[in-house]
Every structure is written in C-alpha cells, then in structure tokens.
C-alpha cells in the first residue's frame, strides 16, 4: 500500500486492526550451530484500535523479542507485521536504492508511531528529563526545539513529572524514571504503545503508580500491548490475554476467561505458579 493510502487508513479510524503480525519467526545467533536459539516459532497476533492486549508467559518464552519484532528493533527472520496498512517483513531490500529507501521510510513510520516502554527505563543518562522527552520529536519528527520543548513539558505534566523536567535520570527514583519514559514515548503521539514489563524493575511501593498511569492511558483509548506479570492489572485493564511459552502462543482469549479459567495445562501451571 502506498504511504498516502496508509495515512488515509490511519485517519479514517476504521475501528479495525492497528497491528497484525503473522507467522513471526526469530532466532538469535543464526549460523552458529551451537549457540543458535529459535526464540519465536510462528507467532500471530492482532490488536484492534483501542484494545489492550496483555502478553504473559514464563521467562525466556520470547515476550520481549515479540515486542521488538513489532517495531523491528529485532527484525523477524520470517513473517510480516502489518501496521496501519503498511506491511513489512524482516527482509531488507539491499539491492535497489529506491526500494531500500522506501523500506527505511516505512521503518521510520513504524517506529515513530509505535511507542515503547522498557523494563529498565532506558532513559538517556546524559540528558535531562525534558531533553529525553524532546529528543524524538526534534530528531525523528523534525519539530523545532521550541515546539519539542513545549510538547515535552506538556507530556511530563501529564505523568506528574512537570517539576522534574530539569533533572537528570540519576536524580530520579525508579518510578519517576518510568514516568519520564512513558512521557518520552507519548510525546511521539503514537498509535500503539508497547510496554515490556514496565513495572518489573520497580520497588513494590512504586508499582501501583505506574500501573495506574497505564490504566489511565488505556482508558483514554490508547491501543496497547502489555507484557506483564501483574495479573490484577491484566484482568482489570486487559481486553485480551495471550499466553506464550517456548516461542509459540499457547492460549489466547478474553482477559478474564484466560486468567480465571485457563484451558491449556501449561497456562494453568504458569498461572498457579505466579498467583501463589
């Protein structure tokens, strides 16, 4: 689909799938016989506009890798990701410069419209909170410094970090860092937000605040894919749950149904282990 058509589809708000991933495969250390691991083994998912998809599964099952395939931070080896009408595979057209450029442009479209929040925040330590938030708008969206600054302060206010705008990450608590990281993602005005265990690195007393922030975002209509071990959040805020194990989707369904009455025995084992 052409870019114009894609943008049109985005604007029309068709109430349909924002993102569809089909047959995603991903291996690491390909070509090294001993060390090669096949992390994702044919994963499909689709998320509709405004929907919150919660991804759960044991450590090492490939949840983070799946999120990173969606924005091509870790390009899939096989399969495709359709996002707002664009369709991309992990195969980079290397031969023809024109195609290569079209590919790069599509990549940038994905990444500027998909926000990502990481377990370890990944704030830029050499920049203030405000500059962290303003970096994407200036360097990826082409806003002027002043526009970006304005937007940055606005987003920081929204997550209650307005007063910390001039602080460096090292001067913030974990919870504050994660708020800034959320503001940084939201400043791009994304159509889809990816949360990769956003609360796993936080002190217990700070988890609630971040979950609250995510809930507010979901209620505002944001489309979200959330990897988490917080089952309370999953049940309350999630629309659907996807349980992954060893690189495949084992079970998928309504959030309440999957968490309260899992059908597959691996899901049952995982949930009873995590809820005990």
């Amino acid at each position: 689909m052409s870019e114009a058509a894609a943008n049109q589809a985005a604007e029309l708000d068709l109430g349909e799938e924002i993102v569809v991933a089909e047959g995603i495969h991903k291996s690491f250390n390909r070509g090294h016989k001993e060390r090669e691991i096949h992390v994702l083994r044919g994963v499909d998912l689709q998320v509709a506009k405004g929907e919150v998809l919660v991804v759960i599964g044991p450590s090492g099952s490939g949840k983070s890798t799946l999120l990173r395939c969606l924005n091509f931070i870790a390009p899939p080896d096989a399969g495709s990701v359709t996002f707002l009408g664009h369709c991309l595979t992990g195969e980079v057209p290397r031969r023809r410069p024109a195609e290569r450029m079209r590919y790069e442009r599509a990549l940038r479209f994905y990444r500027t419209h998909i926000g990502m929040v990481f377990q370890h925040f990944n704030l830029f330590p050499h920049m203030t909170a405000a500059d962290n938030v303003a970096l994407g708008p200036t360097r990826a969206l082409g806003l002027t410094r002043r526009e970006a600054k304005e937007r940055s302060l606005e987003e920081l206010e929204r997550v209650g970090m307005g007063e910390k705008a001039g602080q460096y990450p090292s001067q913030l608590s974990g919870g504050q860092k994660q708020r800034v990281a959320i503001a940084r993602a939201l400043a791009m005005r994304p159509q889809l937000m990816l949360f990769d265990e956003a609360t796993s690195a936080l002190d217990p007393e700070l988890i609630g605040g971040i979950l609250e922030e995510m809930k507010r975002l979901a209620e505002s209509g944001m489309t979200m894919i959330v990897v988490t071990h917080e089952m309370g959040f999953a049940r309350e805020v999630g629309d659907r749950v996807l349980f992954m194990d060893e690189g495949v989707v084992v079970e998928e369904g309504g959030a309440r149904e999957v968490i309260e009455s899992p059908q597959h025995e691996r899901t049952q084992a995982f949930l009873s282990a995590i809820l005990s």
Binding site: R68, N71, I73, E104, R108, R111, T112, I114, G115, M116, F118, H120, N122, L123, F124, P125, H126, T128, L135, G136, R139, A140, L141, Y168, S170, Q171, R184, A185, M188
Partner: protein, 246 residues
C-alpha cells in the same frame, strides 16, 4: 661524585631557544592529538561496522600500528619512505604522521571499548523513537561513549607529549632536540636536562588538571551534583602517561 661546576646561568641564557623548542613540542603534540582523535574514531567505527572486510582492515590497522615503537616508525617514515618514494616529508610532518598513526591505533581501541560499554538498551530506546543509525550514534551512543573515553584519551595525549621527544632523533628541534643541541655546545647537561624535565612535568601536570576539570564537568549529571574527583583521585587516574589497559 665527580668534580662538577654547576652553571645554572646557562638555563636563563638558553631560555629563548628552549621556549622555541617548547612551542614546537606543543604544536607537534596538539596537531598529532587532534588528528589521532579523528582518525582513531574512524578506525573504531570501522571495527564495529557490519561489513566484514572493513572490520578486518581496521583490526589490521590497530595491530600493525601498536606493534612497534614510535622510534621505529619515526625513522621508517622519515628515512625509509622518503628513500623509496623520493618525497621529503620534513621532520615536523614525519613526526606528526608517526605520532598520529601510532596513537590513532591506541585511541581506536579506547573508543571501541567505550562505545561497547554503552548499554544496549540506549541504542534500542533511540531506534524505537524513530532515530536513524547516524542520529542514534551522534545523539545517544557517542555522547555517552565519549565520557567513558575521556580518561583514556587524555592518557594518550600525555603519551603523545612525552613520546614527541623521540622525534628529536630525526633532527627536529622540539624541546628535546633543542636541549640535546644546547648540551653539545654549552657543556651543562645536568642543568639543561633538569630544566627540560621540569618543563615536561609542568606541561603534563597542566594537561592532567585540565582533564580532571573536563571530566568533572562531563560527569556532573551522573552524580546528581557532587564535586567530582579529588586532586588525589585524578593524580591516580592519570598515571602521568601510563597506557590505559584496553
């Protein structure tokens, strides 16, 4: 002790010549340092490039130019190259080339280690914001790697200043070359070498102090407003010219 008549008056009498030598030493060091800062970064980027031949080339570069001493390179470049190709580089240029080649190889390793020390999540976060590879490097990776590299690069500068004295072997009248020449005419080796040694030490202490100040400024954000390394700490950090293990 043998009977030796100190002739300290020789030092102030030679001050003009020594100052001229010092100026050459400073120029030689500054130019070589600036060039190796740039060349070293280029070589480091090649070593980390996706292209395999480029990586191999950069690896060979760092291995070759760290393998021999500056002494050998200076003689080789000044006499060897000019004999074969018939180009007369001049002593100053030969010194710059030798110092730059050797030090850029060391600096490439310092840069490479510094770039690799930056958490992978930093790059991912920048890419996820939609920054391209170049902007990710210039806005996120390099500013952080640079701070890590500063102490190593400063040690390299200290090495350059000290090693630049070797260029006297091809007749350049830098601080060392001038001193050697004065010694042969004035017959006051102890006095002249002492003066020169003091000049080198003062120069290197000044570089270290400036570096500590720079490092303190760069690290401000990491400590949430502390005061930076104490004088004792930076004297230990900059071991006045020891090569940084890479």
């Amino acid at each position: 002790m043998v009977a030796y008549t100190f002739q300290w008056h020789v030092v102030p009498e030679s001050a003009g010549a020594l100052a001229h030598g010092l100026k050459l030493t400073l120029q030689l060091s500054a130019i070589s340092f600036a060039l190796s800062l740039v060349l070293g970064l280029v070589v480091a980027l090649c070593r980390l490039a996706p292209s395999r031949p480029l990586r191999a080339l950069a690896y060979t570069y760092t291995q070759i130019f760290r393998a021999l001493s500056l002494y050998v390179y200076v003689l080789f470049i000044y006499f060897g190259i000019s004999a074969v190709f018939g180009i007369n580089l001049g002593t100053f240029a030969a010194g710059v080339v030798a110092l730059t080649l050797l030090n850029s190889a060391y600096m490439a390793e310092i840069y490479r280690a510094a770039i690799q020390s930056v958490d992978h999540g930093q790059r991912e976060a920048a890419l996820a914001l939609g920054l391209g590879h170049t902007r990710t490097f210039s806005s996120v990776t390099f500013p952080q790697a640079g701070r890590v590299a500063v102490p190593g690069l400063v040690n390299q500068l200290v090495d350059i200043v000290k090693d630049s004295s070797i260029v006297a072997v091809i007749g350049l009248l830098d601080l060392m070359g001038t001193t050697i020449q004065l010694v042969s005419t004035e017959r006051a080796p102890f006095e002249l070498y002492t003066a020169t040694a003091v000049a080198y030490i003062v120069l290197i202490l000044a570089i270290s102090a400036a570096a500590a100040l720079l490092e303190r400024r760069l690290a401000r954000h990491l400590r949430g407003g502390g005061s930076g390394p104490s004088p004792l700490e930076w004297m230990q950090r900059y071991r006045f010219g020891g090569r940084v293990p890479t």
